[in-house]
Structures are given as structure tokens and as C-alpha cells.
């Protein structure tokens, strides 16, 4: 590594021979403007904005800093009159082509351009080539290229047709300095989802994640689609990124399991009359929750899809709950979170809030008081199940609004309430895969798909399978305090099981009387728990009580009644049959 001395604007520094000048300048804090430069791709040297003066052995040259290799003894001047004159004219030329690009206008201001002499064109692409280079060098998809030459040069795809090689990674939109390239999320326009998930393929799951380390989403990661990119690995100083990691299947032997797989929100599209997915300003409560969060899409402001502030907001309770068409049960938490959102939305936007409820379920400490507080705040509560949300205006007041049609049961009228924004308080339901999960743990589901507890009052956290416990919304809709309490209970029971140091066997295990056994071995393959083994010497089957779960299948099959089940012997059951049929 040969070091050379370079002086930039009077600052002397050392750098490796042939380093691009712009990097050396960056190191000493001298700012040189660039447009077509990006640290991730090879320098292209086409915008010429980074032109600087280089003095060397009495010779003066104007060169582009992004790709000029430094040599020993050069003196660089980045703000001479000649340089500034050059940059000013380059900006005027650019504005003649792309006159309304904010970035160019900002730069133009720095060089004293108020009225560009060649006018302002309407193009937005400055032909910097960043998108082309990122797509081919970093992403490896090779979708974009330059076509034609001279003034007709443009960036596009082969044959100007949408390319099937484009993986919609968004890298081109990300590096484009003018905002000329945009990514259109077509699904977003249909479903109106606010971005709730991560924005990049490598991301830290949440602010509270433990460990607080990023993970890579295999399905979005460019490297797994094109074998290129790996920009994350390039910038990681600790060299901690390994794309070659494979899934590891580990077998862990445990003594007890707590299943706390939670719930999923009811899909608001299952209640189509409320317009979710059809009208842009119908949101689910979870989306509004995200919106009012300070780290959300609007930094905590409550805004309509077009960016304006709503003046009236309607919150519809019991969406997907207490409904024969979706779920008959009450989801328990919606009333309280609806009140919370009513309060927050009013606080953030000053909008008039309407709550449409069937019953107000604000049980427990402080909740009824909160409800009263809202009444005092001016929140209007209308008791009635909302019939529909529509955008048909019948009166001038309803124009451009969403109209909520509801029977106000206390007033005895059918009312039409125009609002700007509708919030659907969606209920909780069992997860889609609940059936698969419960089979894995040998549990049952109750109606509506929640996991079945051993006893609704006396054993809420254990299941019919010893050692498997359930907690939280997997067992049934509940709020956070209840979930936490139940979690503690499940943990305690799980611990208790381990702590005992002993395992209680079922009382109703089977046994085999050796003398009666004929060695037919019918019972051996029947046992799902492999509790029966055939003793080749004695030529009889033997049963391991520790493994036996007490199903009795072997007993029913044994032709010689050698196998019997404690508490369920043939004699006992026969006696029961007789007893039941006594006249």
C-alpha cells in the first residue's frame, strides 16, 4: 500500500495511491457536490458536477473528483471561480432538461441561479445512471439500461416492455436522486394497508427485540433472488452477516410446554358492508393504533389517505364479534381499545368522535371512569349496530364523506352520520393454523377454535395432555392484564411439574398377566406409545407401565384377556353395563 500526500483546499492529508479524490475529500471533511455518485457502485463520472481544479507540477487541470485517482503531491481546489462557473452552467443545463426537480433547484440556489438561462424543462430523469448501475452491479437483475445516444438517450427496459426479470426490490427508486423512479404497490392501493411490517429485507424486528440484532427475510432478500447485492455484508464493519446460514432443526427434550400462540385480528373484509378495502379511509383499529404511534407512518398524526386531517371520525364496535355471521362471542378487549382510540384520535386531530356500540363493556378498575371521561370530552356514543358504511351522499352535508347508517336504539331513529374516517374495532379470533398447532401438542380446541383448557374455572391453564399448558389469547380473547396473569399461572404450573422431580403416572395404566399371555403379539403393534415389547425368551408380551398412557386399546384386542386396564377391567365395564340396564 503506497501512501501519497494530497492537499485539498489547503488541508494536507495522506491517502493510498490512486484512491478516488472524492473519498479523500470526504475523509478530511471537504464537501464536493455529486449527482451521479453513490458509494455502492463504481464511479461513472457523467454529471461533472464534482469537477475540481487539480494543480500538479505547474499544470492546472479540471477533473472529476469521483473517479480521479490521487497521485503524490497534487493540490486540489474545490471552490475556485473556474470550478464554480463550471458547476453553475452544468446546473443550468440540467434545469433546461429537468427544471422542476427539487434537488437540482436546491443546488442551483447554492450557485446563485434564480432564473436559469435555458428555461426549465419538464423531464425528471437526469440520466445519472445510478439506477442502471445499481440494478446491474448490486442487485444483479440487469433490468435497466441506457438506450439511444445523445439528446435522445433515455433509461428503460429492453424493448420498452415491462421486464420479467425485475424483482421489484426498489433499489432503483431508492438511489434515484430526483425521485423520478417510484415504486407502485398495487396491492396497497387495493387493500389500503399501512406499512405495518419492516421496510427492508434486513431489519431489526422491533425496538424491544431481544437480542437487538437484525434478521434477514429470505423472501425479500435480493441476494437470494439474483445471487448479487450483499450490500449489508459490504457495509458491516464487524463482518457479522452470513447469507449462507441454513435452517437448523434442533431437538430439545423438555418436560413441559407452554403454548401461547395468541390470536389474529378478524379480517375486516369479512364484514363487507363496512367498506374496508373499498373506501380508502376505512381503517382497522390496528392500523389506527399504528398511525397514532410516534414511530408510525405519520409520526403520530392522524391523517386521511390524502394527507388531510379528519374532522369527524366514527368508531364501529363489534366488527366480527357478537355476530352470528362471523363470531358469536364477545372479543372482550374492543370496547376499551375503542375508547382509548377515541380519546387519542380526538387529542391528535381535534375531530368529532362517534362511537357505535351495542353494549359498553368497561369492567374493572378505572375503565368505567375512563368511559365517563370520554362522555365529558364530547365523544358521542350511539347505541346500535351499524348497518352499513357508504359514500352515497343524500344531502349536501354528506358529499365527499363516508356515511354511517345506524339505528340509534336509544333515540329510536335510523340515523345517517357523515364522517371523514371510519375505524373498525375488529375482534379477536383463533389463529388460522390453530387446528394444526393443537394436533401437534395433542390438545383439543373448543368451539370457535380457541385451545381447550382442562377446566374453564378450576384449571384454566392446563390441557388434557399432561405437561402441555396454554396461556394468553390462544385460550380465549382477553386483554393484557389477564394474559400476563395467565402467563404467570402457566409458567408456575409448568415449573411445578418440573420441580416435583417426579412424574405422576395415570392411574389407569394397563398390565399384562404373564401366565395368561399366549404370545400372539397382537397387542405389540397396537400401542402408539411403544409400551409393549415381546420378550423372546419367555415368549410373552411385557408392558412398561411408565410408557403406558392408559388408552386400553391393547386390552380390547387381547384374545386371552391377559391384558387388562386398571379401573377399566373387563369385569368392571361388564358390571357397569349390567348396572345401567337394570330394570
Amino acid at each position: 500500500m503506497k501512501l501519497v500526500t494530497v492537499t485539498i483546499d489547503g488541508i494536507k492529508t495522506e491517502a493510498e495511491d490512486r484512491t478516488p479524490l472524492v473519498q479523500v475529500a470526504q475523509k478530511v471533511g471537504v464537501k464536493i457536490p455529486t449527482l451521479c455518485h453513490h458509494p455502492l457502485v463504481e464511479p461513472y463520472g457523467v454529471c461533472r458536477i464534482c469537477t475540481v481544479e487539480v494543480h500538479m507540477r505547474g499544470r492546472v487541470r479540471l477533473v472529476t473528483a469521483c473517479n480521479y485517482p490521487v497521485t503524490n503531491g497534487i493540490e486540489v481546489f474545490t471552490q475556485t471561480d473556474r470550478v464554480r462557473r463550471t458547476r453553475k452552467l452544468i446546473l443550468e443545463w440540467l434545469l433546461a432538461r429537468c427544471g422542476h426537480v427539487p434537488l437540482l433547484n436546491t443546488m442551483a440556489g447554492e450557485y446563485g441561479i434564480t432564473e436559469p438561462r435555458f428555461g426549465r424543462g419538464d423531464d425528471t430523469c437526469i440520466l445519472c445512471g445510478l439506477c442502471v448501475r445499481v440494478c446491474s452491479d448490486v442487485v444483479g437483475a440487469n433490468v435497466l439500461g441506457f438506450f439511444n445516444r445523445g439528446t435522445t438517450r433515455y433509461v428503460g427496459t429492453p424493448y420498452d416492455e415491462p421486464s420479467d426479470k425485475c424483482i421489484a426490490c426498489g433499489a432503483c427508486a431508492e438511489v434515484c436522486p430526483t425521485g423520478c423512479i417510484t415504486i407502485d404497490d398495487e396491492a396497497e392501493q387495493i387493500r389500503g394497508e399501512l406499512p405495518l411490517g419492516p421496510m427492508t429485507a434486513i431489519y431489526i424486528p422491533t425496538m424491544q427485540a431481544v437480542p437487538h440484532q437484525p434478521v434477514i427475510d429470505y423472501d425479500s432478500c435480493i441476494h437470494f433472488k439474483t445471487d448479487a447485492c450483499r450490500v449489508c455484508a459490504t457495509v458491516c464493519e464487524a463482518k457479522a452477516i452470513d447469507h449462507g446460514q441454513q435452517d437448523r432443526h434442533e431437538e430439545i427434550q423438555v418436560g413441559s410446554i407452554v403454548v401461547a400462540t395468541g390470536f389474529q385480528p378478524v379480517d375486516a373484509q369479512k364484514v363487507p358492508q363496512y367498506g374496508y378495502g373499498r373506501y380508502p379511509n376505512v381503517f382497522t383499529a390496528l392500523q389506527v393504533e399504528h398511525m397514532v404511534n410516534a414511530s408510525g407512518p405519520n409520526n403520530g398524526q392522524v391523517l386521511l389517505k390524502d394527507g388531510s386531517t379528519p374532522k369527524a371520525v366514527g368508531i364501529i364496535h363489534c366488527v366480527g364479534s357478537r355476530d352470528k355471521n362471523t363470531h358469536e362471542y364477545c372479543s372482550r378487549v374492543c370496547c376499551m381499545y375503542s375508547l382509548k382510540l377515541a380519546h387519542l384520535v380526538h387529542e391528535r386531530s381535534g375531530a368529532k368522535i362517534y362511537n357505535f356500540y351495542i353494549d359498553m363493556r368497561s369492567a374493572g378498575k378505572g375503565y368505567e371512569e375512563f368511559y365517563n371521561h370520554l362522555l365529558e370530552e364530547g365523544c358521542e356514543f350511539i347505541r346500535g349496530r351499524v348497518a352499513e358504511v357508504s359514500d352515497w351522499a343524500v344531502t349536501p352535508m354528506e358529499t365527499d364523506k363516508l356515511v354511517i347508517r345506524v339505528e340509534d336504539t336509544l333515540a329510536g331513529l335510523v340515523r345517517r352520520i357523515p364522517v371523514d374516517m371510519v375505524v373498525l374495532s375488529t375482534g379477536l379470533e383463533a389463529r388460522e393454523d390453530a387446528d394444526d398447532v393443537r394436533r401437534m401438542f395433542n390438545m383439543s380446541c373448543s368451539s370457535e377454535g380457541w385451545f381447550l383448557e382442562r377446566h374453564p374455572k378450576l384449571a384454566p391453564v392446563s390441557t388434557f395432555t399432561d405437561g402441555v399448558f396454554i396461556a394468553g389469547c390462544a385460550q380465549g380473547p382477553k386483554d393484557i392484564p389477564d394474559t400476563v396473569a395467565q402467563a404467570g399461572a402457566a409458567a408456575a404450573e409448568a415449573m411445578a411439574l418440573i420441580d416435583t422431580g417426579q412424574v405422576e403416572l395415570e392411574a389407569y395404566t394397563a398390565w399384562i398377566t404373564e401366565e395368561r399371555c399366549s404370545g400372539c403379539q397382537i397387542c405389540v403393534p397396537l400401542c402408539p406409545f411403544s409400551a409393549i415389547e415381546f420378550n423372546k425368551e419367555k415368549k410373552v408380551s411385557t408392558l412398561n407401565e411408565a410408557l403406558c398412557k392408559g388408552c386400553g386399546t391393547c386390552v380390547a384386542a387381547c384374545p386371552s384377556h391377559a391384558a387388562q386396564q386398571h379401573h377399566f377391567t373387563d369385569a368392571q365395564i361388564m358390571a357397569e353395563i349390567e348396572g345401567v340396564l337394570v330394570r
Binding site: S444, S447, T553, A556, M574
Partner: protein, 144 residues
């Protein structure tokens, strides 16, 4: 609250012996109870741990002792608390039915139902239906 009128007549009332597996069908009948679902009282329940415990001899014994019908209740296939017990039950039941038919036992008299722990209403339905059917069919004259 639903009530059922118990016929105070000397009309024929069928007697059904129900063998319910502990985890699913027995729990379901418990659920029917807590939900106050009324059903015919004609089917006293004998609890076994798994429907796989049910020896075909139990069915024969029940019929011999005067039962007009036998109901076997177990977990849905795939959901057996002991993995596979209900499959054994199914096999045995099929073979048993063939023999019973040869004995002249009507098809409706011996019945296998899969009822899961949350299906309390199904317990109600099955018992009511079976009772109704057997009323029409009349008694099973085993002793005769």
C-alpha cells in the same frame, strides 16, 4: 330454559348404552350439560379412557342384557388423545357390524359417532335422533 317432557306413558322407551371416550365425547356431553342442552334421558353413559378400549364383547353384552341400542362415541379421526385408538375402534366396529347384521340387528341400533370435546350440541343431536329412531324400531328382543 329448555325443558323436555318426559312421556308418562307405558309406551315403549328405548334403552341405549353409550360408551363415551373420556377426552372428547364425554367432555362434550359435559359441555352439553353446562350449556343446558336438553336431550333424551335414554342413554346412560359408560366412560372409557379411549374408544379403543371398547371390546366388541361389550356391545354384545349390552344387547344381551336388554339394551335396545348401543352408541359408541370417540374423537374424530386424527384427534384421538392416544393417537390411533379410534382407528382401531373403527376397524372393530366395521367387522362387528357385519356380524350383527347376520344376527338380525338393525343398522340403527349400533352406532359409532365421532364427537369432539366442543361439540356438545352434537351429543344432544345424536342421542335425540337415535332415541327417536329406536322408538320407531321398537325393542330388541335379545333375551327372546
Amino acid at each position: 330454559m329448555a325443558t323436555t317432557t318426559i312421556p308418562v306413558t307405558t309406551a315403549f322407551e328405548p334403552r341405549i348404552v353409550a360408551f363415551f371416550c373420556n377426552w372428547c365425547t364425554y367432555t362434550a356431553s359435559d359441555l352439553a350439560g353446562t350449556a343446558r342442552l336438553a336431550y333424551e334421558p335414554n342413554a346412560p353413559v359408560i366412560r372409557v379412557m379411549c374408544s379403543g378400549r371398547i371390546d366388541p364383547q361389550f356391545v354384545l353384552k349390552a344387547l344381551q342384557e336388554g339394551a335396545d341400542g348401543v352408541l359408541i362415541g370417540g374423537c374424530h379421526p386424527g384427534d384421538c388423545h392416544y393417537q390411533e385408538g379410534n382407528y382401531k375402534t373403527l376397524r372393530r366396529f366395521r367387522l362387528l357390524k357385519r356380524i350383527l347384521t347376520q344376527f338380525g340387528v338393525d343398522d340403527a341400533r349400533v352406532r359409532l359417532e365421532w364427537i369432539s370435546a366442543s361439540e356438545g350440541d352434537r351429543v344432544q343431536h345424536v342421542i335425540n335422533e337415535m332415541t327417536d329412531q329406536l322408538r320407531t324400531l321398537g325393542p330388541w328382543h335379545a333375551r327372546n
